[in-house]
């Protein structure tokens, strides 16, 4: 179980537990179901975005459009529900379909014209942000009894609450894990991220897999957009700025290599939760300001990448010795 494949994920889990353990000892009320439930809710949309991003990164690509996609989907939801008086269930379905379609189009451009994903999704990032502004430039309240009932829904566990947003996040995380580990598509993603040329020679349909990867990322980020709309009950075209970078950071903190082919989708959850725990540590401390979150995350990210490198070198040495 403990080998060079699982080590980065296991060390990510250890880092998360250490941070959580530190908080539990240092601060009253840190440990317990109340904060746990809050962490799951508060970081749900980052984690959902990061699950989609994990597929992209595992395939050796990158998706910079996810933050704008969240803003666009929120705006679209507001337009459909408030202006066109469409029932939220239908609005959610339409929004997620449109988001997935946009992801698919980016995937097609990347696969057919063989353009770097960085450029294509960067274009997507500007485009979706712009589309969000086209729909409305103001903060809009998404007022609908169904939306309210969704955001109020929750399962009480002890002192904590597992609400709608957290439940959806857990379901989509499980779905992502299953797709990555137990479907041919999932294995193909690892294959093209590991060595696209060899994968093609083996018979993997590299362009088609690439299209599906970006479609999946579009799907996941639009689900994240829906979750954002449900949780805040509003839409504003400037939300989700730099979320793509948070998602990438969460994936990397979760032990996935940015070069592709190595890592686990579950790591996106670990990385997202690590984010959340750091934020809470700073909240509980009270003397640090919001900027410190960014500094700590930056430092941690760097530290973590170094740690990964050290672990990998160590693991290689160890296994070389073992086989002598």
């Amino acid at each position: 179980m403990l080998n060079e494949r699982t080590l980065p994920l296991i060390s990510a889990i250890i880092v998360l537990l250490l941070l959580y353990g530190f908080g539990s000892i240092a601060y009253q009320g840190f440990f317990g179901l109340r904060l746990a439930g809050y962490l799951l809710t508060d970081n749900a949309f980052i984690i959902v975005t990061a699950v989609g991003m994990a597929f992209v990164i595992l395939s050796g690509g990158i998706d910079l459009s996810v933050g704008s996609m969240i803003a666009f989907v929120c705006a679209l939801m507001a337009l459909l529900v408030v202006k066109f008086q469409i029932h939220p269930v239908v609005a959610i379905a339409i929004s997620v379909c449109v988001g997935t379609l946009f992801g698919t189009v980016m995937g097609l451009v990347i696969a057919i014209f063989k353009i770097q994903p960085f450029i294509v999704t960067l274009a997507g990032m500007f485009l979706f942000r712009g589309l969000g502004y086209v729909i409305n430039t103001q903060q809009v309240k998404i007022d609908h009894p169904f939306m309210s009932s969704l955001s109020e829904f929750g399962i009480i566990i002890g002192q904590g609450e597992l609400n709608f947003v957290a439940i959806i996040m857990i379901l989509f995380l499980a779905l992502g894990v299953i797709i990555s580990r137990y479907t041919r598509f999932g294995h193909n993603v690892y294959a093209i991220g590991g060595d696209a040329q060899s994968a093609a020679l083996i018979g993997v349909n590299v362009p088609w897999t690439t299209v599906k990867v970006y479609a999946l990322s579009g799907f996941y980020s639009s689900v994240a957009g829906v979750l954002f709309a449900v949780a805040t009950g509003s839409a504003y075209p400037e939300i989700g700025i730099a979320v793509e970078l948070d998602a990438i950071a969460a994936v990397v903190l979760g032990g996935t290599l940015l070069t592709g082919g190595v890592g686990y989708v579950f790591g996106a959850f670990i990385g997202g939760m690590t984010f959340g725990v750091i934020q809470q540590l700073i909240n509980f401390d009270g003397t640090l300001n919001a900027a410190s979150t960014r500094i700590v995350i930056g430092a941690l990210l760097l530290l973590f990448i170094l740690l990964q490198k050290i672990i990998l070198v160590w693991a290689k040495k160890f296994s070389a010795k073992g086989s002598d």
Binding site: Y190, S198, G203, V204, S319
Partner: protein, 504 residues
Amino acid sequence: MGVLEPVVDVQPLLEIKNISKGFAGVQALNKVSFSIAPGEIHALLGENGAGKSTFIKVLTGVYTRDSGKILFDGQDFHATSSGHAQTQGVSTVYQEVNLIPTMTVTENLTLLQQPKRFGLISPKRAKQRALEMLERVGLNIDPSKQLDSYSIAVQQLVAIARAIGTKAKLLILDEPTASLDAKEVLRLFELMRQLKSQGISIIFVTHFLDQVYEITDRITVLRNGSFIGTYATKKLPQAELIHAMVGKSLDELTSGSNRETSDSADDVLRIQNFGKQRFLKPVDLSIAKGEIVGLAGMLGSGRSELCEIIFGAQAVDQGSMEIAQNAVHIKSPKQAIDHGLGYCPEDRKIDGIIAELSVRENMILALQAKRGWLKPIPMTEQKAMVESMIERLSIKTPNLNKPIGELSGGNQQKVILARWLLTQPTLLLLDEPTRGIDIGAHHDIIAIMKELCEQGMSLLVASSELEELVIFAHRVVVMKDRKKVMELTGSDISQKSIVNAIAQ
């Protein structure tokens, strides 16, 4: 020529009939026809550009053929991709292991064919399937480990295990032994015999002629895209095989003209026991001032490898080197240049020219590197040097700012030559200086080489064109299977003697 093998009695597994394939005016395959019997190990041989790779790609559907027919198992065979060919029972294993290094052995073996349970991949069954596949190639390893935790040889066997899968009837091995050591080669051969006994046919592409004689039943030779012949391995002496490959009959290989060996005693280069494991067996060689030493041998014999280790492009792990009687340790091409060496590599398109840069920029690269990048050569000086070289080597270019990629092959070669001449080397290493250039430029380059050595420069020239070596070399070193096998001097140098040395 040769012993044409009569058609075998049993129905052939694969029948190739008049396959042709051309690229933009170049005929890469010209009416190639041969057949492969069930359970046969069949060598496919030829020098660079003979059409072996094109043939494999046409057979496996990577390229579409222009004309001709392929019958596989009696049926018309028309693969549309390598994946499609594989499902039809034709699998290929390339020299570089084409698997995913970051995935486990199981994942690699079952990719695209994972056993499923309730619509999802069953890791347990996948592992079981992987173990069965590994057993077929006699490999006893843990399939849950990542592929790149195993040696290249093991990865190669895993690739074969994947290739034969469950229903391969024809296995194509494209230079599988190039990166294996002797022991690993034996293991591969054992596996090949085992597969043969299971009725699987193998097309074996290699440059190692001894291996051909050790393992194959028949040999098909291609040359310049044309079919030369299919021979029973046992009935074909090695000398005749080489003639078939290089295209000269024994009678044509007359003795070369006599020449005087350079009697100057001061060696510009002396290497002793110089080699690198898995790359080149230890070589002794000395080159005198003003001498042209030819490097003969088939493709993959170690010709280019010797040039590379002398120039420091590959690190040696044994032996010593002296330049002008001083012991030196060259660790990089930069150091080699500083010691007065120059090197024109074999494939100028990959290693030599920078197609987008101008003739002038390409020409002064080496000199600028030698002087150091912080001391740019003044433009007027550059222009004067480049212009004099263009005149001296009669390079045909409208002006010195033309991108080199737009010149003809021969003129590109001359620019590369000029690049090194500007650094005024004492020893110039030329690897296939006349490949792919027209006859006129060919003569020019040989004339330039002779002139250079008269001026006291030493040259080490690797070439697959024996007649050319015989013309200009004072001494010929014959390489075979990554080893120096013979050194010919003076009147001993002839195409015949070189071929005999290779065939021994």
